[in-house]
Structure formats: C-alpha cells, structure tokens
Amino acid sequence: MGLLSDPVRRRALARLVLRLNAPLCVLSYVAGIAWFLALVFPPLTQRTYMSENAMGSTMVEEQFAGGDRARAFARDFAAHRKKSGALPVAWLERTMRSVGLEVYTQSFSRKLPFPDETHERYMVSGTNVYGILRAPRAASTESLVLTVPCGSDSTNSQAVGLLLALAAHFRGQIYWAKDIVFLVTEHDLLGTEAWLEAYHDVNVTGMQSSPLQGRAGAIQAAVALELSSDVVTSLDVAVEGLNGQLPNLDLLNLFQTFCQKGGLLCTLQGKLQPEDWTSLDGPLQGLQTLLLMVLRQASGRPHGSHGLFLRYRVEALTLRGINSFRQYKYDLVAVGKALEGMFRKLNHLLERLHQSFFLYLLPGLSRFVSIGLYMPAVGFLLLVLGLKALELWMQLHEAGMGLEEPGGAPGPSVPLPPSQGVGLASLVAPLLISQAMGLALYVLPVLGQHVATQHFPVAEAEAVVLTLLAIYAAGLALPHNTHRTQAPDRGWMALKLVALIYLALQLGCIALTNFSLGFLLATTMVPTAALAKPHGPRTLYAALLVLTSPAATLLGSLFLWRELQEAPLSLAEGWQLFLAALAQGVLEHHTYGALLFPLLSLGLYPCWLLFWNVLFWK
C-alpha cells in the first residue's frame, strides 16, 4: 500500500475516484443486481448432494401401512375437537397412551401485547400434548421430534391422525436409537414456542407455562407436519425460520430423497422444480422460486412451526400437504412412508447435522446457491455506499485543504480541524433526533395503544398500526438541523458521510445474518442514499426517497410476493395486507422474538431519516 502513503500517487487515485465516481457507482450497482440474477444459472447454482455419511448410502425399507388407521384417528380427532371446541386433550392423552407412548401435557397462557386480528386471539391459554417413544436400551440422551401445530380452526386433523398412526407403527419397531417425541401443540406457533421454552427451561418471550414432566435429551432434528385432507396432490416444504434462519441443507436433501423414492410430487414455495436448467426457461422459473424464498426469508417470520426450533439449534422443516385440482393424488400412506424414511435415517445420525450448508438460497428443490456465491451480489451493492462515502470524504478533505493551502503550511498537516469541529457539532442534533424517532417508533405504538383507544374510535390492533404509521410519517416533518453553519455544504456532506457509513455497516451486518433482508434493503435503499443531496431536483429525490423507505419496501415486497405467487393484489387489498403485516411484525417481535421490527425501527428508519435530513438541509 505504498499507493496510499505516497501523496502524489494518492492524489492521482483520489482524482480518479472523484472523476469516475458516478460511473463506478452505477457499474457497481448494476453488477450487484446482475450477479443476483445470474445466481439461478448453472455455473452458480449447483445440484444438491447429501453430505452426511450416516444418512447417505444406506437405504431403508418403509413399512408403514397405517393409512386407514390414520384416517380413523383423524376422524375421531376432528369429531372430538368439534365437540369440545378446543384441542381434545383427554382424547389425545388416551390415544397416545393406547399406542404405547409415555404421555405428558403442558398448559400455557400468554397475553398478547395487543389483540391479534389475523388469528383472532388476545388472551391465549392452551394445552400441548406430547408423547415420548422411549428408544429401547438407550438412555434418553438424544431425540427427534414430530410435531403438528393445531390452530383454532379445524385444520390439521389429518396431520394429527397421521402422527398417531406413525407413533403406533414406530412403537412396534426395535431399531430406534433416539427417543421420538410426538408433539401436538395448541394455538399453532404459540404452543410450539411455549413447549420449546419449557423444554429448554428458558423464558424468552414472557410466556407462562407449566414445567415439563418428561424430557428426552438433546433434540437432534424436528419435522412439522401440516395436512388438512385425506389425499394430497403434492407436498410443499418450508425451510425459512425465525429471523431468516435455515435448517441444515442435508435435512432438505433427505426430504427430497424420499420424495424421489416414493414418487411424491414435492414443491418448494409452491412451485414445481424445473427439469431443464440448460435452456432459459428453467432458470427463469428458478428465479421466481428464488425471489419467493428471498422475500420469505427477508420477512424473518417463522413460516411454519419448524421455524421456532431453529433458535435452539434443532434442524427442522415443515411439510405441508397440498390438495389442488391435479388429477393424481397420494394417500396418507405415501406421506407416512416418506416421514418414516426420514425418521429412520435421522435415527442413524451419529452427530448433529452439521456437514452440509447452513446458509444457502434455493432456486429449486434440488438446486442451491452457497453463501460464497451469493455474497458478492450484496458486496457490489454496498460498494456503492463505500465509493460515495470515499468521494464525500475526499471532497471534505479537499475543501479543507483548499482553505488551508494559502497559509502555506508545509506538509499535509491534520486536515481541517476547525471546520470539522463545526461539522461534528452540527451532526449531533440530527443523529439524536432521528434515533429518538426510531425509539419512539419502537416503543410508543404498543405502549400508547390504550391512550389511543380512549381518545379515538379504533380498536387496539388498529391503534397500534395507525400510531406506527403516524410516528413514521411524523419523523419526516420534524426539523432536524437546528445548527447553522458557516459552510452549509460541509454540514450536509458530513451528515451524509456519517449516514452512508452507518447504512453500509447496518446493511453489511444484516446481510451476514440474513442475506435476503440485507439484499432487499440494499437494492432499494442504496441508490437513493447515494443520490440524496440538497441541490438539484429536490422533489424528485424526495419522492424517490419516500418510495425506497423501509415501509415502502415492505409494501412493494408484498405486491411482488403476490405477483410471484400469481395472485396479484389490487391496491386496496395491498393496503389492507400491508396494515396486517405491520401488526403481525410487531406481534411476532413480542411473541416469538422476531427481530425485523426492532431492526427497522431502531436501525434502518433513523438511518433513512438522516438521508431525508440531508435532502432538506438548509
């Protein structure tokens, strides 16, 4: 790096960066987007392969034949559930005991921060029932979990039926080396969260629950099952978990193996896997799946009850039975066989699943993109921020030089001490104000819901969402800079420099933990962040900035998501969905510990306000 220590060459480099800054930024941004789009093409996307030896070569013979039994269990369960209006705990206990399991129940209760209008619940209390199949001649050090989340509606009866039939079948076998826990949770994910917290004896979300009476050691893997019909046309698999966590790729490979073996039709994101990756059609279809996965992962919510297991380092995925209008259908035996095969292979595991990838993107069920290949996309996008920051830094530097050079001090003494002092002082107010806005956005909606309901004719959930939007919008109107500087240009440049670095750091960190979220936010926020300045077509910039704010990104993502699912939204529907998504985001933060809401309100929103501030710098 003699380049940097030699002032002459440094000046040349600086001049290059300054002169070519705009083209370089555009190039970098385009390269980032292009790289991402290129991920679906074969050199970058690879075929999946099983890495875990213990699950690899040996095949198992599935013997499950309890289809009738499963349907009978499902019918009984549905009838009892209809009669009692809740989870038929006593019936489940009796049935599980009759198939030879060690049965326990766990009751839990949770008062949500505000009423959940999507699921229609507020004060939740329920009971989880679980039965443990004890592996013979093993000391209960390891276990596997098969779980069925039961919501308030009458879905998932067939899943419970299949779970019980599988339990009965598994109980008769002698090859188990790990205990198997059959878990039926009430209030779907809330029940799962309560059970997991009690199992690990932690309290993350303020759930009240009774302690567990029976345990089965360290859980190695879990499969969640959702089935609502006696026959299925396909099985959809969901991998995205809480905060964008993903299970080990080997678990998905395992599922795919048994899909192929049993001839089942398996989908990812509801999309069939394209067969032909050589022509353009395959990759295009893969791009659709990939975008859907990015959107779902970015949302950071658990897409199925498996998502909550991932926090505890339990590899898990959700299988959903889909019953569409396709002609060829599979009965419960086929699904049961796939599950039996998966459990027998998981039973072979000698170590936790760790061989394969934990960070990946899936353009198809049998194709993946590894982290080494997708990270450059977001790297290119963040480079734009870096280049822009460098340019600003140099401009500030040169301006300082320009002031001082007439004084003729020999050597590049510390640049601009007086002017920088002014710049820093002027930065304090906007930084503090925007952070305070973020804090208000995070705290006030839930805290102030009762005040809002007293003074306005709205329900609590509406109050929260509307307060959220109100504070969000109010942030734009606040006067940010109270300080008047002698050199106005230097003020906004310093502020923008700080904001750019702040944004780059945040996006970099997010992209490392949840690539999809980082990439999505970078795609939208980076160009306007780079453009924002108080000169030129201000209204255009302002419009662009509003359009790329985190909330607008969320709205846009909703439209894109439905578009990709081939169920486009109208504007009004989109707005309703947006409001619901806001409420869900806040709720999921409080009930499951999802981090998207605090991340946006405490991190990205204040940062975005800084750019808004730059734009309207006086």
Partner: protein, 575 residues
C-alpha cells in the same frame, strides 16, 4: 447411544467340569436363580443371578486348580491382591418413575490404590470399581496409574473401557472406596459357555429386544464362619432385562417364559446346587383374584422388598416333580382382571435431569428431585461429577423446593482441574413432603484444544448422571391399613428402622454440545486470515507511523548545495 454399542452376551465364564475329584467334597458351589417381576408400568423385569462361591484363600494359597470359579478372574484376584471388584455394563436407563426403584442398584465398585479414587458410570456405560488391599507386597504395576484397571479388565471382558481424568473420591463415601466417573461408551463382547439350567433362557436375539439390559460381575470375599477366621470368594454374575410389554405382549400384560425368551426351562443346571425361579405375584388390590400363574407354584415366599410387601411364587428346578411332568417348564402369568388404574403408582423418590438454555456459550444443569410421599420429608445425598470442560459457576447454585430456597445441610465441592479432574459436587438436601426440588447450576462451555475433540465432536459430550442416595420411607409404612391393624404401641415409634429402605438412583446421562470448530477448514482459514491480517495490518501500521515530508523539487544546482553546506556549517538556516 446404544446403537453403536456392540454388546454380545452375558459373561458366563463358567468352565466345564474339569477334574472332578470325588475323594473330597467340592469346595465350590454354584447357585442360580431368576426373579421375574411385573413392573408397575406393565413391563416385565427378569433378573438372573448366578452365584459361585469358592472356599479358598486365593491370595494366600497358590491356587492352580480351578473348577467352577473362572480362572481368569481368580488370577486377577491373586495377582493384584484384589479385595473387591464390581463391574457392570448397562444399556438403557432404568426409568424409576414407571418401573419403581431398581432392584440391582447400579453398583459401585471400589478400588483402593493406597489413596482414594473413584469410578462409576451409567447410560450405556460401565460403572466400574475395584478394590484391592493396600500394596503390602510389590505390585507388578504402579498402583497410581489409573490405566491399569481399565486395561486389565478390558482384556478380561473383551470390553472397551476408557476412563479420562484422575479419579477422585466423594467425601461421604468410606475411605478407600471410589469409583470412576464416566466410561461413556463401553463396548463389550463376551462369551457364553454353558447352556443348561436357567442360562438356557439367555438367548441373544430375545435379550436384545428388551428396553433395558444390564449385566454385572461382582467379586467379593465372604466370611466362612461367624468369627471370620477364613474367607471364601464369591462371584456373582447378574443380568437384568426389562421386557417391553407393549412389543412382547401386544399390549397385554400377560406373559410367559416362552413369549419372553422364546425358550422354556427343561432341566436344572447339573453343576448347580440350587436352581430356582421366583415370580412376583403381588397384587396391588386386596383380593387375590386378579392374576393366576401356571403351573401353580409349590411354595410361596413373602418379604418386604424395597419398602413394599411382596409375594413370590417359587419354582425349584431341582425338585424333580417340577420338570419331570412335561420335560419343560413354561411359567405363565395371566391377569384375570387387567389392572385398571392407568397411571402406575409413582415411587416416592424419582429424579430428572436436563440441560437448559440454548446457544454454545452458557447453559444450566438442572436436576429435579421428586418426593411424592404425602407427608414425610427425607434427606437425599446428591453426588454430581461434572467434566472440567463445563466450567461450573458455583455461586449460581440454587436449590428451590415449593418456590422457596432450600438450604442444603451439607455441601462439599471440589473444583475441577483442566484436563486432570472433574468437578465434584456433593450435597445433602432435605426434600419436603410432596414436593419437587430443583437443583440448578450454571456453566460455561469451554473451548477444547483442537486435538482434544473426540472423532465425532458434533455428537456432543456426555455428562455422567448424578447419583442420588437416600433412605426412602417405605410403602409399607405409608399405608394406613397397617396402622389400624398393628398394635397400639407401634404408633409410639412412628419412624422405626423398618420404615425406611436405602435406594441409590442414577439420573439420565446428558449430552452437551461444546463449541466445535469446523475441522475441515483450519489450515485454509489460518492461511487466509493470516495473509489478510498481515497485509492490512502492515500497510495501516506503515501509514500510521510514518511521518510525511513534502519533498522540495530540486532547484539550483551544485552552487546552491555548496552554499547550503557552508550555511549549515555556520549554523544558519539553509537557502
């Protein structure tokens, strides 16, 4: 962990009848018995016991002729001046809550090596202890070497035993007694040499369809007479298995020898002086009509065992009438009325242990101790041996029962030494009546050196079970019926000696994941990071420490330089 354990057959190191000397009466004898007990959960436990007794001073007499006593063990005793040896291999976990207190408490064998040392373990593992007399004569191997015993026993039993770390002794155990903390995955291959008597039933493929399997060898000296002037050696070989009623009996609780072992008894062992089968026919209800055994037993026997009154039917195989009738004896038990109570009676003391928390940095070891006795509190001695790589924070030790803090009356803690000895924590805790006591202690997971990880580091590391020793109030004393029928003066002494029985329980072993590096990468990662760090650090350091001078363009020629030289010599600033 059972899957990986190649374990073949019961150790029955019986030698065939060698030189049978009729001139003098045999100084050794073999007795065998089988106890079949229906467990509260409906499962059936079968316990075999083969006892060989030899009236011989092995260590004093130069014995070279062995008859019933296995020579391999005899030589072990005489060579190492062994005092006692107990070794057990267990696959599975005795589920006290459903099966009641265990009959054969996982043994503790002691080794006396001139100082105290400990070995013990459970799970699919081998509790092991040995005990030898203080080294009076020169021992062939240095007694302080902890590998001696595992190695010797390994060769004798074809088992893989390894014991990590130094041995240590709990304070409450008698001096000179000790056991080794964990032999996490013992593998065992042994032989079965004799097929007669009760051992006919030991058919491998049936024994390995059980839910619990524990075999043990115990050697100890016993006194020949009351004054103990001379001793005999006793070798007990035991095997206990628990048959899963659900698999074996298709959900019914009836059983028969044939259904469990796929064999029947045909003859007594020709070498045995006693050969008996005991069947527990205790009924939980008062009327005696609930079950029926076939063939009807000749005698019955009553006793209070583990605090409950038990009735046993006795079948003596040496009784010729028993076998001669049909040339085979297939004992069957049928429930006339299946016991209707779904929930089996819960024993007064049971325990549960687990690791709480998530993530790879910290965690918490929690032990739940249940006292289900309706009105009596009793103390429990809890012994925990935790490997050093879980760094315990002793200040976080909390014991709560019924929501209140429970102060233990005695605590002994011996901190771990890295790579040398495990933590040892011993507590005497009073369990209030009808309560759950939670003992929890936080720990931090240590980073091991990368060569210290096991070949399967992502499997996790085992933490040995805690050992609970307690005098548990017996069921007999808890029954109000007894109070009514017993003489009045009995109530003056409510806590008599007979009202307690000693129980030693083991909790589950635990599996704890430690932070594990990705072993495929170290070299690449080290090279890459070193390069990156070197390049960045070097250039930044360079940039930060260098002082910069603007180099004046060289103007003026030789004349100016000369002038400057002169000026410098004069001490005036140069041009």
């Amino acid at each position: 962990m059972a899957a990986a354990m190649p374990l073949a057959l019961l150790v029955l190191l019986l030698l065939g009848p060698g030189g049978w000397c009729l001139a003098e009466p045999p100084r050794d004898s073999l007795r065998e018995e089988l106890v079949i007990t229906p467990l509260p959960s409906g499962d059936v436990a079968a316990t075999f016991q083969f006892r060989t007794r030899w009236d011989s001073e092995l260590q004093r007499e130069g014995v070279s002729h062995y008859r019933l006593f296995p020579k391999a063990l005899g030589q072990l005793i005489s060579k190492y001046s062994l005092r006692e040896l107990h070794l057990s291999f267990t696959q599975g976990f005795w589920r006290t809550r459903y099966w009641g207190p265990p009959f054969l408490q996982a043994p503790s064998v002691w080794i006396n090596l001139g100082r105290s040392s400990v070995m013990s373990s459970q799970g699919s593992s081998a509790p092991l202890s040995t005990s030898s007399t203080p080294p009076t004569q020169s021992l062939p191997l240095p007694p302080s070497n902890p590998w001696v015993w595992p190695m010797t026993l390994t060769t004798t039993f074809c088992a893989m035993l390894c014991c990590r770390g130094r041995w240590s002794a709990p304070k409450t155990s008698p001096p000179g007694r000790s056991s080794c903390p964990v032999v996490p995955r013992a593998s065992l291959i042994s032989f079965h040499l004799l097929q007669a008597g009760l051992s006919v039933l030991l058919k491998a493929d049936r024994l390995f369809h059980t839910s619990y399997h524990s075999q043990a060898v115990h050697i100890r000296p016993v006194c020949r007479n009351a004054r103990c002037t001379s001793i005999s050696w006793e070798l007990r070989q035991t095997l206990s298995v628990v048959f899963d009623a659900f698999i074996t009996g298709q959900g019914k609780k009836d059983w028969s020898l044939f259904r469990m072992f796929s064999r029947t008894l045909t003859e007594p062992c020709p070498l045995a002086s006693e050969s008996r089968v005991y069947v527990d026919i205790t009924t939980y209800n008062q009327d005696n009509e609930t079950l029926e055994v076939h063939p009807p037993p000749t005698t019955t026997y009553q006793d209070v065992i583990l605090g409950t009154r038990k009735t046993y039917a006795i079948y003596d195989l040496l009784d010729t009438a028993m076998i001669n009738n049909s040339r085979n004896l297939n004992i069957q038990l049928k429930w006339k009325r299946p016991p209707e109570n779904e929930a089996p009676p819960v024993p007064f003391l049971h325990a549960q242990r687990y690791v709480s928390g998530y993530g790879l940095q910290k965690g918490e070891l929690s032990t739940l101790l249940y006292n289900t006795h309706p009105y009596r509190a009793f103390p429990v001695l809890l012994l925990d041996t935790v490997p050093w790589y879980l760094r315990l924070y002793v200040h976080t030790l909390t014991i709560t029962s019924k929501g209140k803090e429970n102060k233990p009356s005695y605590i002994h803690y011996q901190p771990a030494q890295d790579r040398l000895q495990p933590h040892l924590l011993e507590m005497l805790i009073q369990l209030p009546a009808n309560s759950v006591t939670k003992v929890s202690i936080q720990f931090e997971r240590a980073l091991l050196k990368w060569t210290e990880y096991t070949p399967d580091p992502n499997h996790g590391f085992y933490v040995s079970p805690s050992v609970l020793s307690a005098l548990v109030p017996s069921m007999v004393a808890a029954k109000p019926v007894d109070w009514e029928e017993s003489p009045l003066f009995n109530s003056l002494f409510p806590v008599s000696d007979g009202s307690n029985y000693f129980v030693r329980l083991y909790t589950e072993p635990l599996l704890v994941n430690l932070p594990t590096p990705d072993f495929s990468m170290p070299y690449n990662v080290i090279c890459l990071t070193c390069t990156v760090v070197a390049v960045c650090y070097g250039s930044f350091y360079n940039l930060l420490t260098r002082t910069f001078h603007i180099e004046e363009p060289r103007t003026g020629g030789l004349a100016k330089r000369l002038a400057n030289l002169i000026r410098r010599a004069r001490g005036v600033p140069p041009l």
